[in-house]
């Protein structure tokens, strides 16, 4: 480390003045941008007083803005911090699966999301639960989707905070001596984030995502060229990773990790990739990014250009191996090893302070952007599918925007409490659990885009079965080192010893239950809900007329209509 160093409460973690100054300057710049975003492409007549404006940025983002927004949305602290940390700690199966995951993601997005865009555009749907409610005429089902979305998003937001905290810790901020002091920088960063999200809605993360990406690309490209040269080539890096991962862990009696998956972990590897890919666009924040775009083809075009980010993801993951070669020591404030600190520490150890400052700012901002989008998406779910559907069916757009703003604050502070109160490694596992849960909304949403064959109560039954199995199976996975429940997301398929991602088994159970119950309920002639969509809705584009006004005249829960 070069540059000025100032001692702080923890003697072995000095503050790097130059790096810290650069992080603060960039953070202030980004915060200012967040507030300015309120005026960006704003409808003069209505301001931001509707969910379309506040929560979806006016539904007018073109290919470029959508590219940055979705990039900012999908490549988060999970990518920048958690994946390289997993590579550093346990290798390919727990980390590098993210590469095939983000490869197979885009063909899936291409197939599914343009239809969801079309039908949502016509009916003014803001959330995935809006679509499910409209398609199946079932409040129970739409609330199930909404609650799943909110619950699964919370730990994901918490994970972003873990990322920001990792950067702050490495910079030398915070202290182990007092809880408030430890988290004060994080709380300040978060209050600023909450303030500009409240003011500007989805426009803030959309605008900030541009800055975030420029910084991240700069940091990653420089690191990927400079570090291998410094360390004598990728060959050295991979060899040291192979050696470290082969070391036997005394706690488990097994190797520390997997360098190249053997036959026994093939199924874990590909189910983690496929399950994550199917789950990602069920998350409310991904769907928010989709619905904020201007036209049907914006999404498809993005499915072809977004993989560029995956290349960056792959190299970032490999930085976890570079850190093994470099002997990076990710020691947390309490003296314990915290793998989440690996990438920030690597930058601080091997680059001039000013460049480390840029890279660390990029990681922190890269966590702020998705945190903002996620809190907006969760707030929209609450407003539309709980507040409006259950409490105030006659809510005006202005009221909806107001409720959503408040809800976004509640969601964020909930996540903040989560991070301060809970163990950080738990946040990573909770995110994997989030994937198990959110995937259970897939049959209702995706099958609904193509067919109305499934019965609404059968989908509800499938959802419940998937959630119960997934939660129980994840709970029974015990971390071999800490002996804690929710210790991982991989378990054997019941009755076999094939190890797979729990989400995929839960999903299969969900589908089978939904199909069998549909046959039974159709045979019983159990009344099915009213479908307010028509086949032409699924191919509608930008300039086709909307039917939102008609929906308002004939709301879903009209007297005599099957509301439940």
């Amino acid at each position: 480390m070069s540059g000025a160093t100032v001692p702080l409460a923890v003697p072995d973690r000095p503050i790097s003045g130059v790096a810290l100054t650069i992080v603060i300057v960039l953070f202030v710049l980004v915060a200012a941008l967040g507030f300015v975003a309120a005026r960006w492409r704003r409808e003069e007549a209505t301001g931001l007083h509707s969910l379309d404006e506040w929560g979806l940025g006016g539904r007018g983002f073109g290919t470029w803005v959508t590219w940055f927004l979705l990039g900012g949305d999908l490549y988060t602290a999970y990518t920048f911090v958690a994946v390289p940390a997993a590579m550093w700690a346990t290798g390919a199966v727990s980390g590098f699966f993210a590469v095939p995951y983000t490869i197979v993601l885009y063909p899936i997005v291409f197939l599914l999301m343009s239809r969801l865009w079309s039908v949502s555009h016509r009916h003014g749907f803001v959330t995935p639960a809006d679509f499910v409610g409209g398609r199946y005429g079932s409040k129970a089902l739409s609330i199930a989707v909404a609650v799943t979305g909110i619950v699964a998003t919370m730990p994901y937001i918490a994970l972003q905070l873990v990322g920001i905290k990792a950067v702050l810790t490495v910079l030398g901020l915070g202290s182990a001596q007092n809880v408030l002091l430890t988290d004060l920088p994080l709380i300040i960063a978060f209050v600023v984030l909450a303030a500009y999200t409240y003011t500007s809605g989805l426009r803030a993360p959309a605008l900030i995502a541009v800055v975030k990406d420029l910084l991240i690309y700069l940091a990653v490209i420089v690191a990927v060229i400079y570090l291998p040269i410094k360390f004598g080539g990728w060959g050295n890096i991979f060899d040291s990773a192979e050696a470290k991962l082969a070391t036997v862990n005394p706690a488990t009696g097994k190797p520390a990790g997997v360098f190249i998956p053997g036959a026994g972990s093939y199924s874990a590897y590909w189910t983690l990739a496929l399950g994550s890919a199917l789950a990602l666009f069920m998350y409310p924040h991904s769907i928010t990014g989709v619905l904020a775009s201007k036209s049907r083809n914006t999404i498809r075009k993005n499915a072809a250009v977004l993989p560029l980010y995956s290349l960056m993801l792959g190299f970032l993951a490999l930085l976890g191996y570079a850190a093994i070669y470099a002997g990076t020591k990710p020691i947390d404030l309490n003296g314990a090893v915290n793998p989440q600190l690996v990438v920030p520490q690597l930058f601080l150890d091997h680059f001039p302070d000013w460049f480390a400052g840029i890279a660390l700012a990029a990681i922190a901002i890269g966590a702020l952007v998705p945190a903002a989008i996620m809190s907006i998406a969760a707030a929209n779910l609450f407003t539309r599918n709980i507040y409006r559907d259950l409490i105030r069916p006659d809510a005006k757009p202005r009221q909806e925007a107001h409720v959503s703003k408040i809800a976004s604050l509640v969601v964020k502070f909930g996540a903040l409490v989560f991070v301060i109160a809970m163990d950080q490694s738990a946040a990573i596992n909770m995110q994997l659990l989030g994937g198990i849960w959110i995937l259970q909304t897939f049959p209702a949403i995706v099958a609904g885009l193509y067919t109305r064959w499934f019965h609404r109560w059968a989908l509800f039954g499938g959802w419940a079965a998937g959630i119960v199995y997934g939660t129980v199976a994840a709970y029974t996975v015990v971390n071999p080192v800490t002996k804690a429940n929710f210790g991982g997301s991989i378990a054997a398929i019941p009755g076999t010893d094939i190890q797979v991602y729990i989400a995929v088994v839960a999903f299969a159970i969900n589908l089978v239950v939904a199909a069998v119950l549909s046959l039974v309920f159709h045979a019983m002639k159990l009344p099915d809900g009213k479908d307010i969509t028509r086949s032409s809705d699924y191919g509608a584009d930008e300039h086709d007329p909307k039917v939102a006004e008609i929906q308002r005249e004939y709301p879903l829960g009209e007297p005599g209509g099957p509301a439940f």
Binding site: A92, F96, V99, P100, T102, I103, V104, Y106, P107, I108, F110, L111, S118, P228, G233, W234, G235, N236, I237, F238, F259, I260, P261, G262, A263, Y266, Y269, W270, A273, L274, N297, R300, K301, A303, A304, V305, P307, L308, S310, L311, G314, L318, I532, R534, S535, S536, D537, G539, A540, D541, H543, D544, P545, V547, I550, Y554
Partner: protein
């Protein structure tokens, strides 16, 4: 009770959709077939095959999705024009 169902697109030709479907299926199935690439050799600039092969699929997928985009939007445009023709060449855009 709702507005009449005005078709947004004319009848589809299956060709472009089938080809796009095959390309997209390739882009999903091949990267998930782990036994094909779970080996160390040959290395590329020191990087084991397992790692560089998967990274190499990123641009390939982008290409496959790009071709699908071109095929499908071309067909969509034709279908929209077909339906507009039926509706009496209504001026739009």
């Amino acid at each position: 009770m709702f507005s009449p169902d005005v078709p947004t697109r004319g009848p589809a030709r299956s060709g472009p959709y089938v080809i796009a479907g095959i390309l997209l299926a390739l882009a999903i199935v091949v990267p998930l077939f782990v036994p094909a690439y779970s080996v160390d050799e040959p290395r590329l600039a020191g990087m084991p095959f397992f790692y560089w092969y998967q990274m190499a699929w990123i641009p390939v997928t982008a290409g496959l999705v790009g071709i699908s985009y071109w095929l499908v939007t071309k067909e969509d445009r034709r279908r929209r024009e077909a339906v507009r023709g039926m509706a009496g060449a209504k001026e739009e855009q």
